[in-house]
Symmetry: D3
Subunit: 209 residues, 6 copies
Amino acid sequence: MTSPTLRTYAFIDRMQPQCAAHIAATSPGDVPLAGMAELYIEMAPGNEVFRAADIALKAAGVRPALQIIEREFGLLEIHSEQQAEVLASGQAVLDELGMSETDRIKPVIASTQFITNVHPYQAQLLNKWRKGSMMMPGQSLFVMEVAPAAYIAVAANEAEKAANITVIELRAVGRFGRMFLSGTESEVQSARDAAVAALEAMPGQEMKR
Amino acid sequence: MTSPTLRTYAFIDRMQPQCAAHIAATSPGDVPLAGMAELYIEMAPGNEVFRAADIALKAAGVRPALQIIEREFGLLEIHSEQQAEVLASGQAVLDELGMSETDRIKPVIASTQFITNVHPYQAQLLNKWRKGSMMMPGQSLFVMEVAPAAYIAVAANEAEKAANITVIELRAVGRFGRMFLSGTESEVQSARDAAVAALEAMPGQEMKR
Amino acid sequence: MTSPTLRTYAFIDRMQPQCAAHIAATSPGDVPLAGMAELYIEMAPGNEVFRAADIALKAAGVRPALQIIEREFGLLEIHSEQQAEVLASGQAVLDELGMSETDRIKPVIASTQFITNVHPYQAQLLNKWRKGSMMMPGQSLFVMEVAPAAYIAVAANEAEKAANITVIELRAVGRFGRMFLSGTESEVQSARDAAVAALEAMPGQEMKR
Amino acid sequence: MTSPTLRTYAFIDRMQPQCAAHIAATSPGDVPLAGMAELYIEMAPGNEVFRAADIALKAAGVRPALQIIEREFGLLEIHSEQQAEVLASGQAVLDELGMSETDRIKPVIASTQFITNVHPYQAQLLNKWRKGSMMMPGQSLFVMEVAPAAYIAVAANEAEKAANITVIELRAVGRFGRMFLSGTESEVQSARDAAVAALEAMPGQEMKR
Amino acid sequence: MTSPTLRTYAFIDRMQPQCAAHIAATSPGDVPLAGMAELYIEMAPGNEVFRAADIALKAAGVRPALQIIEREFGLLEIHSEQQAEVLASGQAVLDELGMSETDRIKPVIASTQFITNVHPYQAQLLNKWRKGSMMMPGQSLFVMEVAPAAYIAVAANEAEKAANITVIELRAVGRFGRMFLSGTESEVQSARDAAVAALEAMPGQEMKR
Amino acid sequence: MTSPTLRTYAFIDRMQPQCAAHIAATSPGDVPLAGMAELYIEMAPGNEVFRAADIALKAAGVRPALQIIEREFGLLEIHSEQQAEVLASGQAVLDELGMSETDRIKPVIASTQFITNVHPYQAQLLNKWRKGSMMMPGQSLFVMEVAPAAYIAVAANEAEKAANITVIELRAVGRFGRMFLSGTESEVQSARDAAVAALEAMPGQEMKR
């Protein structure tokens, strides 16, 4: 058995309304609300997430929105109205792993796209697939791909704090996390800048391919 | 074999952006775009919709977004950038049936709900279920139920024309059509008034239970 | 508690290849194969189908492809390589109900459509929805709606025996059963005639609305 | 607009573990847990459930597991660790409607089936369809169909209180509610008796067809 | 074209009731029953499974429950009431490949988790996702991840033979196979020991990463 | 950020009827029809497909059937009745990337299977999974696996041009593209030869593992 890797450890102090609504709309567990604190923990091998969830839920007053396994990785989300509860739960998981927060992998932005005046047919294809709000043709679109995947939640939350954008889609599971934000060109630029800055500011270990 | 009933015959002269995006996001056929004209035809028994689609598509330059059968009824949507094409297609279907537009059933509003300051947990339940944009807690919500179902498309389109609202959900198939619109209290009131007025202004035959 | 109604009792002596493949492709239970005999039993209230399945499976050497409940009705399919086994199972169910085969409801054809030279967009909409083979534009299409729903299996099987057609879709559950067959105009006409004749030849009780 | 009908008003004082797990596993909203109190409210026209949810959530400290609309009816479930909160929420809905608890429709048992020594193929078909625990061949099965649908939750909860059974499936939406319980013959008999007795003891108005 | 790899070759002499029910509930093909013998064959590239299925089905009296392709690998399950038939089918596949049973890859346990007194929110998340029986809060949970994936079927079957546990979930496709078993702490420990022992006893080739 | 890779660049001059119908039946965007020209562009990282779609749709008169992201790769399909429009759109994407058509990865056939007289149970498993036409037992089956995935569209289109086969399934997304064709032994052999020849004739860069 290989020792577990802490792929993502991403604390969000205050969930923004659209990000919270998107997670609440797409998660199978307890409903997170705007204003709550939350923590994403992504691990490999994927099954390690079950032990982490057990520790986190018993350590403090948090509730989980999701606990999932995909091909290789496992992802846990916990949240609470009290930041301290979320932090205590996260610390309990780190303690069990014998790790600290910066033993996480450092996020790498795999690609970004900035598209102005989105074509109606491109908007339609996005709208069939997204689970957030609808993309209106003619608006600007920002797409970001990050690895490990769950860091995309931090990027989206900071983008929503910084700019008046619409959350089209967030996908935090798999080899890459992806987000799709729309709005006016200038607002989407502000959102992009905030997202990039937030990820670049997160210390961690270099990912090995 | 019983003779077919023309449940809905609803012409929309100019599709509004959100209504168009919602239909485009949820339909299996050709992609309708904002600004196009469209026509909904709902029939019983449901299979009559297949003959109607054949006539409509061959009569003029229209394309279909959907052609569906549910338990009892069939629904066809056709659209074009040219209003005249849509009208000619619709007339061809009416001619085949030996009917005129007012032989349709007159829409009946089965219920309306107006909810201010939507509770976060109610918003979350709507957000898990809707296919339009996300409902933000704290906004107002208007819900309308109409029979026959496909008239809801007219109500939604007029509401979007009249007010600055967000389209949360439209369901135009089944015994009742339903729409869910959100926004500020005053905008949602304007949307409601426009929707109610549009339906009440449509002549047709009384529905038999 | 109301006494159960025997909506459909439809014996098929020899399953045709496409009909068998369609049922096998869309059913959750034992795999029926071309050449087998089969029996459809549809009842109301829907739950009566569970007792019928228990009796049928224990009475003789048959296996079930499906046992389903929808809104109001329940449907059971059983099959075997031996016609006698299927007939014995069916008789056991009839005995338990104190009924004979002709206490079933007589099938009523609710509508038929015959469309020649199917338009490419209509074909596309059918192809997104069907679970049988693909409909090619330009071919003829025959659609039949029958009540009670499960009699459509008899109609389709007789149509496939009688003509060289392609099975696009069969739906045997709900208020109406529906089938969609395609081919050349003359083959589809032969299929239609065989299907109509088979249903009209089945004695039973008049349906009460 | 027709005046709303209170189809189901069903209070459960203490959710049993399997019933709670089944609802938690199949509902989109807040997670109910064993030991909580809950209330089901089913209304027609279906949209009335949105106003009821708004009133209930704002009236007291309850959370909703589901708020759904099907063809004709709407269903709301609310729960809390405090019975008084659930009762206060329910009373607020009744007050708004100008009704009392006994203005609900009285439950009618549409059918019951008791099957001993379930055949392996029947078990397999149930197992493909259920969302509760798996049915083991050879056990006994009890199936109940009740109208209005949401009363099935009361029946299942009382059955689980009274006997050592396995919850295979619960469906509380539509024209009929249905439950499927398995176990030894004697335990399933006890479960059936408790379920029937609970429903027969609930006063209400006779349903009009 | 690369030469095919025999990732899993796993013979089960006698399917246990819950494992059989789980496979029967989640497979698209012929229904396996408790007491039957079965064989899992997993290959890369995935398409090799189609040739293997053809050989296996024609070589002896076996039937397939599944034949699937995922990203990289293909999986076949065959079963019969007669062990000899299953063994003969498997041998025919090995002969075609010019391999013997021990040319399979040796199973590697990627991770195991043992969780006592499962938290209600963790149980709820598992219950939304599993397709086996429901996990009850407070019980113990054992999770195992193995590669290649299909060996998990052997582990689960041996665990069910050895202990009184509940099968919550089995996933035999992908990079890792996973199983989730629940019960009392001591029963789950016995299940774990039996599963680990069974996998460690299977000879084969070392996996290359 | 890594520089994008052009995995597939596959131009089809004239879509054959079954291939067109399959894409139209399984795609979320504009409906492609037989006789149109089309182009598949597959890129890594997957998000690059959004920039490519924006450029392609604005460069010439084409419409997209799909724009998707899977685990690692992104795929775009565009089509038009005018070959020149498709070619101009594709050239615009290449120009933006600073690439020419032969900078694409050269297709590699990962495996082929040729199965005669397909067993009924194998056919049933294929039929449950496919989205094209049904496979009839007793016919021959050809299966091909190619990388990068989207080249399978070229292989299938050439096969349909060359032989009288039935398109059972096409999957153009993921690590491997796969196609399943059925018919008589000689027709399927002709189809296979045409598919292999078409892929081998496409110049490009060697794939790095």
